[in-house]
């Protein structure tokens, strides 16, 4: 019966039911702690470490008192009377009950130091002790068996004679259970004269202390340990033995409500006092506390538990015990076998969701929802591509032309892509670079003939003389290379000094002095380069030093200048200058240092390559760089691919890594012929994905403009047909494609005549085939097709009537819509659309007698408006 020495000493923890910030731990000794919240002193936390025991990131505990003079403590309960100091009732292994106040004896603690004892000399273990939660004077003790002594004693600490240890034992208020063992017990909150007690490893009984002899509620079970009664639902009793936790309903105690089988033997089970139906349990040799969220249904389904585990504390030390905080929501204190305490708050399962309109909502506690939207700071901090897409869509990105698109984006790569496409179009429209119908925007690869299946044109080697300096450089020339240069915006005549100086002036005006200088050098014009740098020295003084250094250049391959400059060029910070010096100091014709200078935009590097690289090397360079950019999903590669079929894998890679469906869809539609796009399932999927996002954001007008401007989808077939009630023929023959062409023309002609014959607008109130009248408007009772008198009628110009426009659309602006037929597809009643919409402003049901159709509220999508 005694704790054997080999075992780990039992450690327990318990929150005070009275003091919100105090708890006790007991094992070899009893300690009382006070919990301090250190969030208030947040500001000073850096300088001083908080005193006492750290319980969690924001709580610490101060040890208030220790009591060591209790041996063989078996069970403890804290006196629950409000406003009293902490007082413990301690059940001992010898059956004695003592009271401990940690020496803080106050007026109402007359019990301190006193002792209640069993009325026999033979010691027997006190198994359970519990204060009555309402009548604070009652204390129940459950004891082991001793002959025919009673095992359940209820003391009235105020009325019963309180006995000093030396005096003869007193009498309990109530005694029960002759010759039995009481294992555990608990009082009912709602009926404080009843308690549930387990006996003899066999049964649980509910005992009314007003008449203890008459115990009616009894159940046979082996689960006799750790009886606990739920605070919220007083009918719920829980107990355990070995591996099972058993739930009881005190109204139907005969059979358990549910048995929860655990994988290891159970040490402790406690109802959460702050949440309905939540049970916490601790199993042997675990680091986790299991939580059982009991689920019940009104119907006969067996209740079951939603299980989860929480891990208070870090490390891998097994837990010894835990205790729920009596009032703080879901807070518990766990103690490990080594005595480490952990203050833990069990968060409710948080559900969350993310709406298409960029709201993130999640649950906070049991009753609250929290949400953030894209207007909040946190949301904008992570640069969600979807918010960027939305913003760009609002700014008409994509609907506009290339150069304007480039202004609408911040991303430098995409900006460049649009400006380059603008350039590309200017060049191809001017007829400088040839195009094919399938590839309206040729890329560098296309013009150089590097696309698969084509051969590169042979180019001619030329030794070009430096201007003003003795010496030549190997360059290559072909018409394909010239085209490539045009696409790199190097389309100036390189032999014409005026052209080049114009280009340099332009760059100087943009303060791109180093770029201008290196372009001058790559065109073998050292003097221009030096002059440019000298101009730039007004703003960037170090450029004059560079100019000085350049002036010493000589084409001699083994000069000291070359040797020294090649050593120091790596120290230059400007990529253009680095490249220029690399070019001037290169000993072979490879020019790798220039070509791999990533600080220089791709177009300048390619332009350089198309001048100075041999056919073989140029092919290799272009292919390497294409693959590299393709692999990165870098849109810059569009310079190389243009609108050739190679563009699709590039865009797919870009899309896979960025999710920028918008730019991809717009690019596809802008630069690939729509016949190709519409037949290509992948591209159509991109476009439809983008349209779907716009739809979800209710940006229908923008989506419609996108559809129109970019021919995003094939025009859908005619949505609605009107046919005559009598002859069944189509009333709008102009849109009937089966109608013969000449027949159509005749009708158009007739219609034109009508409009010109002085009538304000074209009207037809009868079927064009059989001349029978059209149905009447449910409100004005005029035949449909009649102009509704309420609306001022504008004069239609016959010019607007082309053969494509239908009979119904008469070319009038907004108002003509009011003549439209409008009807409810459910009840098939209808009329002029303006009459109908007027009616439904004030009415719910159809204007036709006996029709209760709620035409206007039927279509649920109409509740949403476009933004």
């Amino acid at each position: 019966m005694f704790v054997s020495r080999g075992e780990v000493p039992k450690l327990e923890v318990q929150w005070s039911p009275v003091h919100k910030n105090k708890f006790i731990t007991w094992g070899p000794d009893i300690r009382m702690y006070e919990v301090l919240n250190n969030t208030i002193s947040e500001s000073s936390k850096n300088s001083e470490t908080p005193k006492g025991l750290v319980l969690s990131s924001n709580t610490t505990a101060n040890l208030l008192a220790t009591s060591t003079n209790h041996r063989y403590v078996k069970c403890i309960d804290i006196y629950p009377k409000p406003d009293s100091e902490i007082m413990l009732a301690i059940g001992h292994a010898n059956g004695k009950v003592t009271f401990c106040t940690f020496g803080l004896a106050t007026v109402n603690n007359t019990l301190a130091g006193l002792e209640l004892g069993p009325n026999s000399r033979f010691s027997r273990q006190c198994n359970a002790i519990s204060w009555n939660p309402v009548n604070y004077n009652l204390l129940a003790c459950g004891l082991d068996k001793h002959r025919s002594d009673q095992c359940l004693q209820i003391w009235d600490v105020e009325k019963s004679p309180l006995i000093n240890a030396e005096l003869s034992p007193g009498k309990p208020f109530v005694e029960y259970g002759t010759g039995e063992i009481a294992h555990s017990l608990a009082w009912f909150n709602s009926s404080p004269h009843v308690l549930a007690v387990s006996f003899n490893s066999k049964n649980i009984r509910c005992i009314d202390i007003r008449d203890a002899s008459k115990s009616t509620n009894i159940t046979q079970t082996r689960a006799v340990f750790g009886i606990d009664i739920a605070v919220y639902n007083n009918n719920h009793i829980v107990s355990y033995s070995d591996n099972s936790i058993v739930l009881w309903d005190s109204r139907h105690l005969e059979k358990p409500v549910v048995t929860l089988t655990q994988s290891k033997s159970v040490l402790k089970v406690l109802w959460c006092p702050t949440r309905h139906n939540l049970l916490g349990s601790l199993q042997k040799d675990t680091m986790a506390i299991s939580l059982h969220d009991m689920q019940q249904s009104m119907e006969e389904t067996e209740p079951s538990a939603l299980e989860r585990t929480v891990h208070p504390g870090q490390g891998n030390i097994h837990l010894a015990s835990f205790s729920w905080h009596p009032t703080h929501e879901n807070r518990l204190l766990a103690i490990s076998q080594t005595g480490v305490l952990n203050d833990y708050c069990v968060f409710e399962r948080m559900t969350l969701n993310w709406s298409t309109t960029s709201n993130i909502a999640w649950t906070y506690g049991q009753h609250n929802l929290k949400f953030i939207s894209d207007k909040d700071l946190v949301y904008s901090s992570f640069e969600d591509i979807s918010t960027i897409i939305k913003m760009r869509a609002f700014s008409q990105y994509g609907i506009k032309d290339f150069s304007e698109n480039s202004k609408l984006v911040d991303d430098p790569i995409i900006k460049n892509v649009w400006s380059w496409l603008d350039l590309n179009r200017k060049i191809t429209r001017a007829g400088i670079v040839p195009t094919t119908p399938d590839v309206p925007f040729p890329g560098i690869k296309t013009v150089l003939g590097l696309d698969s299946g084509t051969l590169m044109h042979k180019s001619e080697l030329k030794h070009v003389q430096w201007v003003d300096i003795q010496g030549t450089v190997k360059t290559y020339r072909s018409s394909a290379r010239d085209n490539a240069l045009f696409l790199c915006d190097w389309g100036f005549d390189r032999n014409n000094a005026l052209h080049i100086s114009n280009v340099l002036r332009k760059l100087e005006n943009e303060n791109a002095y180093t770029r201008a200088a290196s372009i001058a050098i790559f065109n073998l014009r050292m003097r221009d380069a030096i002059e440019t740098l000298n101009k730039g020295a007004n703003q960037q003084p170090h450029l004059s030093m560079i100019a000085m250094a350049l002036s010493g250049y000589s084409p001699d391959k083994y000069s000291m200048w070359r040797e020294l400059c090649s050593r120091t060029r790596e120290k230059l910070t400007d990529p253009y200058l680095r490249a220029a010096f690399a070019f001037l100091t290169s000993e072979t014709d490879s020019h790798d240092a220039v070509l791999n200078e990533v600080g220089i935009p791709l177009e300048d590097r390619i332009a350089f390559a198309s001048i100075f690289l041999s056919d073989v090397k140029l092919t290799e360079y272009i292919n390497t760089i294409t693959n590299k950019l393709l692999d990165q999903g870098n849109l810059t590669a569009i310079f190389l691919t243009g609108s050739s079929p190679d563009l699709v894998p590039l865009l797919q890679r870009y899309l896979d890594s960025t999710g920028d469906i918008q730019t991809v869809s717009i690019l596809v539609l802008k630069i690939i012929p729509s016949e190709i796009v519409h037949e290509h399932p992948v591209m159509m999927n991109w476009i439809n994905s983008y349209r779907e996002i716009l739809d979800q954001w209710r940006m229908w007008h923008i989506r419609a403009k996108f559809d129109i401007a970019l021919k995003a989808v094939k025009p859908p077939p005619q949505n609605v047909f009107l046919s005559c009630n009598y002859c069944g023929k189509n009333i709008c023959p102009a849109t009937d494609e089966k109608e013969k062409e000449n027949d159509k023309e005749i009708k158009i002609h007739r219609m034109k005549e009508q409009t010109e014959n002085g009538s304000n607008s074209f009207k037809f109130t009868s079927c064009p085939n059989c001349q029978s009248p059209l149905p009447r408007c449910a409100l004005c009772l005029a035949h449909l097709g009649t102009a509704s008198a309420k609306v001022p009628i504008r004069k239609t110009s016959s010019k607007q009537l082309t053969s494509n426009s239908s009979y119904v659309v008469t070319g009038q602006s907004v108002n003509s819509f009011s003549y439209w037929f409008s009807w409810c597809p459910t009840c098939n009643h209808g009329g002029h659309s303006n009459h109908i919409s007027d009616w439904f402003k004030n009415h719910l049901e159809c204007p036709v007698a006996d029709c209760v159709c709620r035409c206007y509220s039927l279509d649920s999508t109409s509740r949403y408006c476009s933004v």
């Binding site: 585990t309 929480v310 709201n359 993130i360 953030i372 999710g659």
Partner: protein, 356 residues
């Protein structure tokens, strides 16, 4: 500094699910209190309660919206072993002249013998189709043959997964896959062992016209609480976010030369342990580029991909505040950032890639 806005949900017990409709304008919540509530957002962005009704006789686990072209339709599932279809109808107008809207039960799906743990409508292109999964591990497909008649939901298919199922998600359609099969991933929260797979992929076979389990993802062995496919947005692969003992992002790449068997490779794109032990829910943004997760640490964490790597781009405590520095070391490294960026993501090794 309070960052998030609050709504008093007025549920009497724990809220299990929050769902937004297609346009993000309406929100539905469901709870242990057996009620479902519908919220509408006004022009100012505030959410107003517009309907609340007792939907089931047990905890309501999940609520989900149908595509608006089928009307204002919700589906719910519950501990009471049923799933239900709800439609909003227009009632009489009250004295103020405003229309009263209320929700009526159109169908009750009673095939499950155990708690129905998840319910999701399929992609719009498949018609009005619904998948449920239940605690006894059966995935069921229902289909309304007539979209105008929401009362008829014949059970079309049943797939037994033999593992208690907790969640399911439909695949979006891929851009470059020739024949995108309808696919559903089902997660299991079976906590009796941590060796068996907890993620199953079911596919519809066009030839046999049956749904069948075609794959289980071996790398996920801990109980799964939530799963969701990212919106595809033209990507050439699927992204599947899994809430298990950590946040897991799986990448399903179609095999180009698959003739038979499971035509995808599954690899772990990212895995994050920041939620300590249990991750409860995951949700994607509209483009599938940022993932939000919630877990036992009481935080909402946001993960974003930048060119094949994933990293944390934001942490919010459950009360919507930015977290206090947890420890002195974390504090010194991240003190100056308003939003804290942690590089805690592990990209798993190629050796962990699973080939099928």
């Amino acid at each position: 500094m309070v960052e998030a806005h609050s709504i008093n949900a007025e549920h009497k017990d724990l809220i299990h699910d929050v769902a937004f409709d297609y346009y993000g304008e309406r929100m539905a919540t469901c709870s242990t209190d057996q009620f479902v509530k519908v919220w509408d957002q006004d022009e100012q962005g505030n959410w107003n309660l517009t309907a609340s009704w007792k939907a089931h006789s047990g905890s309501v686990w999940k609520v989900t919206w149908a595509h608006p072209e089928f009307g204002q339709v919700l589906a719910t599932c519950s501990f009471d072993r049923t799933a239900a279809i709800w439609e909003e109808i227009i009632g009489e107008s009250n004295e103020g002249g405003t229309l009263l809207r209320h929700w009526v039960r159109r169908a009750n799906l009673v095939d499950s013998r155990t708690s129905v743990t998840d319910v999701k409508f399929g992609p719009k292109s498949f018609g009005l189709i619904l998948a449920t999964c239940s605690a006894d591990g059966v995935m069921r497909i229902y289909e309304a043959p007539d979209a105008m008649n929401l009362a008829q939901w014949p059970l079309q298919h049943e797939v037994s997964l033999k593992n208690p199922s907790s969640c399911l998600t439909w695949n979006p359609l891929l851009s470059n896959f020739r024949m995108p099969n309808a696919m559903i991933a089902v997660g299991s929260d079976d906590n009796s062992n941590t060796t068996n797979s907890k993620v199953f992929i079911c596919e519809y076979n066009e030839v046999s016209r049956r749904w069948a389990k075609t794959e289980s993802v071996a790398s996920v062995a801990h109980p799964v609480h939530d799963m969701i496919f990212a919106p595809n947005m033209g990507r050439s692969f699927y992204l599947l976010a899994v809430a298990t003992n950590n946040v897991r992002i799986l990448k399903l790449k179609p095999l180009t030369d698959a003739t038979s068997g499971f035509p995808y490779t599954i690899e772990t794109a990212a895995q994050f342990d920041d939620h300590y032990c249990t991750v409860w829910r995951v949700a994607w943004n509209v483009t599938g580029t940022v993932l939000a997760s919630s877990g036992d640490d009481g935080c909402v964490r946001l993960w974003k991909s930048t060119v094949d790597t994933w990293k944390c781009v934001g942490v919010l405590k459950r009360d919507g505040k930015l977290p206090q520095p947890q420890s002195k070391t974390a504090q010194s490294t991240a003190q100056n950032n308003l939003t804290r960026f942690f590089k805690l993501g592990q990209i798993t090794h190629p050796s962990e890639v699973h080939w099928h």
